[in-house]
Amino acid sequence: MTKNKREPLIHITKRVNIPIWFPLVVHAAALLLALLACAVLTLVMTGENPLSLLNSIINGSFGSSRKIWVMLQNTAMLLCVSLAVTPAFRMRFWNIGAEGQTLIACLASAACMILLRDVLPNWAIIVCMAAASMLAGAVWGLIPAVFKAKWGTNETLFTLMMNYIATQLVAFFCVVWESPKGSGQIGIINQRTELGWLPVIGGQRYLLNVIVVGLICVAMHFYLRYSKHGFEISVVGESVKTAHYVGIKVEKVIIRTMLLSGAVCGIAGFLLVGSTNHTLTTTLVNGRGFTAVMVSWLAKFSPFWMIMISMLLVVLERGAGEISTKFGLNQSYSDMLTGIILFFIIGSEFFIMYRVHFRKPGDKEGKLNV
C-alpha cells in the first residue's frame, strides 16, 4: 500500500491545542513581514530609505502629544464600534450594519442639537442626545434582529442594506439643515453657543471619549464572560439546537443582543457628534463600522485584545497618511500600504489555524507525517 502512495510536497493539518501565546507570535511575525514588504515596495518605487518609512509611521501617531491624543481618540472610536459588534458576533450573528447603526445615532444626536437648542438647557440637550442616539442605534439593530428571529432572514444582507438607508437619511437631513442654502453642508452645529457639546475634561478634548470607551470595554468584558446573558450568547453561537435543548429562548437572545449592539453603536455616534465633530456628514463614521468587523474578528472577540488591534490599525492608518505627506505621495499609496499590512495580518490567521508540513527530502514515499 505505502509503495503506491506518493506524499505531496506540502500538506496541511488543523492545529489542535493552540497555546495562548501562539497567535500573538504569528501576528507579530506577519506584521514584521508586512512592514518588510512595504519597505521593499517603497524602496523600489520611490527610492526612499525604508527606515525613514518606519520612522514616519511612528511619528504619525507618537510624534507629539497632539498626535498621541488624536491617535487615542481614533482608537477609542474604532474600539467602541468593535465592542458594539462583538456580542452579536459571538452569537454568530453577522452584523455588518454597525456603520449605519452609528450613523443613524449621529443623526439623532445632531437632530437634538439643532431642534432642541432654543427649547432646553444645555444639560438636558446632552441627556436627550445620549438617549436618542442609543435608541436610534438600537432600533437600527433591532429591525434586522426581529426579521432574523421571526422569519430567519439573512442578517448579513439585511444589516448591510440598513447602512445605505442610514446614509440616505443623513444625506436628506444635510440638505434640510444646510447652511448656506443649497450647499449641502451643515458645518459646525451651535458653533457660537456650543449647545449640546460634551464638556472637555482635564483640558483634553478627547479624554472624555477615551474614558467612556474604556469603561464600555471593561463592562463588555464582564458582560460577555461572567453574566448569564454572556453565557447564553456563547451557547447560541455554539449551537442553536443546544440552546433550545437547555431551554434558552434563542429569539429573545438574538433580539436582546442586537439591541445591545445597536445601543453601543449609538454611544459611538453620540460621542462622534457631541464630543468630536459637532457636525453631521454622510461620511462621519468613516468606515469604522466595517473596520470594526475585522478588529473584532482578529481579536477573537476578546475586548482587551481589541484595544491592541484597533490601536494597531489606527497607527498604521495614520502612519500611512504621514508617509504620503512626507514623501509627497498620493493618498492611494497609503491605501496600498494599509492593504499590504492587512493582507499579511489576515493571511496569518491561516497559519494560526493550520499547520503546513513539507515533504522531507528523499522521503517521497514515506508515511504521512501527521
Partner: protein, 394 residues
C-alpha cells in the same frame, strides 16, 4: 535750514520706526500649511496645488501640502498639527465645507493667519486672523460662454440644428450661489453671442463624483444638449463629451489632453496671485483683507488656451473684444437688461450676504442697472433663477 533738517531727521526717524515696529515675519520663517479636500485627481484641487507650489517656489517660502482632508474635525486637527508640529504660520484651506473648522482653529491660534477659499463668514465672524478669498470668476465664465456661443452659431450655420434647437447642458455640484452664479454667467455669455440659446442644468450633489458627473453629462446629451459645460471637479463630464463627440467648455483648467476633439476652452481661478498677496502681507506685517476678490486685472481670472480643433473660427478675437469691454466697465455680466426672472426685469434683489445661517437676505445688490456680484463679500451670492435656464429634477 535747521527746521528743514530737523523735519527731515524726524521724518527719517518715523520711517525707521515703522520699519522696526511693523512686526512682519522674515521670509525664512514663513511656512504655509495647505489643506486640500482631494488630491491631484480632482481638477479643482489640482488647480490649487499647482498655484501653491508655483507661488511658494517663486517667493522662496517653505510649505506643507495636506491632501484628502475631509470637511470635518480632521480639518481642524490638520490645521492644529500643521501649526504645532510643522511650525506653519499661515494656514490655507481650499474647500467650502472646511470653513467652520478653520474658524474653530483660528479662534484657538490667534497668532496664525487662516485663509480660506470660497468661504462666506470672514466679514461677519470678526476674527482678525481669519480671511476669505475668491475671484470674479463669473467674468471668466462669461468669456467661456462667449466661446460656447460662437461654437453654437457655427453649428447652426453648418445646419447641424436650427437656432431654436440651440440648447446647452450644465453639470453642477450643488444648487447654491457659487454654482448658480457660475452657470448663469456662462449662460449669459453664450446668449450674448447666440440669442436663441437655452440651457438645462443637472446637479450631482457632490463636489467630486466621477460616475455621477459622467452620467449627468450623458443624460444632458441624450436630452438634446448640443454643448456641455460643468462645475464639478472630476473628469466625468469632459470624458463623457469626448466619447459622445459633443463640444465641452471645461472648468478649473484645460482638459485638452484627455479630450482633444471636444475641449473648447476652460476658465479657471489662478490662485497664485492670492497666495503671493497673503505671504507679502505676513512678511510686511500688514493685515490680510477679510474678503479678497481677485479679478481679470489681478491675474486671478484666466482662460486656458483655446483648442482650435474644436472652437469656432474667430473665437479668440471675439473673446478679446468682450474681455476688453468687461475690463473697461462698458459691459456688465449681470446687466439687468440682459435677463428676466419669471418674465420680469430684476429691479431690486436682496441677497444673503451676511451668511448667519438664518437664510435671511439683507443686502440690496441691484443698483446702477446691474447685479453687484462679489463686491460685498468675495464669495458669490448670485442665486437667482433666471429665465432660459431649466433645472432638471428640481
Amino acid at each position: 535750514m535747521k527746521k528743514v533738517l530737523a523735519l527731515l531727521v524726524a521724518l527719517a526717524l518715523c520711517l525707521s520706526c515703522t520699519a522696526v515696529f511693523a512686526d512682519g515675519v522674515a521670509k525664512e520663517n514663513i511656512k504655509i500649511g495647505f489643506i486640500f479636500l482631494h488630491d491631484e485627481n480632482s481638477t479643482y484641487d489640482l488647480n490649487f496645488l499647482n498655484a501653491a507650489k508655483e507661488a511658494c517656489e517663486k517667493l522662496g517660502v517653505a510649505y506643507v501640502l495636506k491632501t484628502n482632508i475631509p470637511e470635518g474635525q480632521e480639518c481642524y486637527e490638520t490645521a492644529a498639527e500643521l501649526i504645532e508640529d510643522e511650525g506653519c504660520n499661515i494656514i490655507f484651506a481650499d474647500s467650502f465645507g472646511h470653513e467652520s473648522f478653520m474658524i474653530q482653529a483660528a479662534k484657538e491660534y490667534p497668532e496664525v493667519q487662516f485663509c480660506h477659499a470660497t468661504g462666506t463668514r470672514a466679514h461677519t465672524e470678526g476674527l482678525a486672523n481669519y480671511h476669505n478669498a475668491f475671484a470674479s470668476i463669473y467674468e471668466g465664465r462669461f468669456l467661456a460662454g462667449v466661446a460656447a456661443g460662437m461654437k453654437l452659431n457655427e453649428m447652426i450655420e453648418k445646419g447641424e440644428f436650427t437656432a431654436e434647437e440651440a440648447k446647452m447642458g450644465y453639470v453642477g455640484a450643488y444648487p447654491y450661489a457659487e454654482v448658480k452664479s457660475g452657470y448663469t454667467s456662462f449662460f449669459l455669455g453664450a446668449r450674448y453671442i447666440c440669442p436663441t440659446v437655452t440651457m438645462e442644468v443637472t446637479f450631482t450633489n457632490s463636489w467630486y463624483d466621477e460616475a455621477l458627473e459622467k452620467e449627468g453629462a450623458t443624460k444632458l446629451i441624450n436630452d438634446g444638449c448640443k454643448l456641455i459645460s460643468q462645475h464639478a471637479d472630476s473628469m466625468g463630464a469632459p470624458t463623457a463629451c469626448e466619447v459622445a463627440g459633443v463640444p465641452d467648455v471645461s472648468y478649473n483648467g484645460s482638459t485638452v489632453a484627455a479630450c482633444p476633439n471636444t475641449f473648447i476652452i476652460s476658465s479657471r481661478i489662478n490662485w497664485e496671485p492670492y497666495f503671493e498677496y497673503m505671504v507679502n502681507c505676513v512678511m510686511n506685517g500688514e493685515a490680510i483683507a477679510a474678503d479678497w476678490t481677485g479679478t481679470i486685472a489681478t491675474g486671478s481670472v484666466e482662460l486656458s488656451e483655446l483648442n482650435e480643433q474644436a472652437a469656432a473660427a474667430g473665437t479668440a478675437e471675439k473673446i478679446a473684444e468682450v474681455k476688453a469691454a468687461l475690463e473697461d466697465g462698458s459691459l456688465k455680466v449681470y446687466d439687468i437688461n440682459t435677463f428676466t426672472v419669471n418674465g420680469a426685469k430684476l429691479e431690486s434683489y436682496l441677497a444673503d450676504v451676511d451668511d448667519m445661517g438664518d437664510y435671511v437676505p439683507e443686502t440690496e445688490v441691484v443698483t446702477d442697472g446691474y447685479f453687484h456680484e462679489s463686491e460685498y463679500r468675495s464669495a458669490p451670492y448670485f442665486d437667482v433663477d433666471i429665465d432660459g435656464i431649466t433645472m432638471l429634477g428640481a
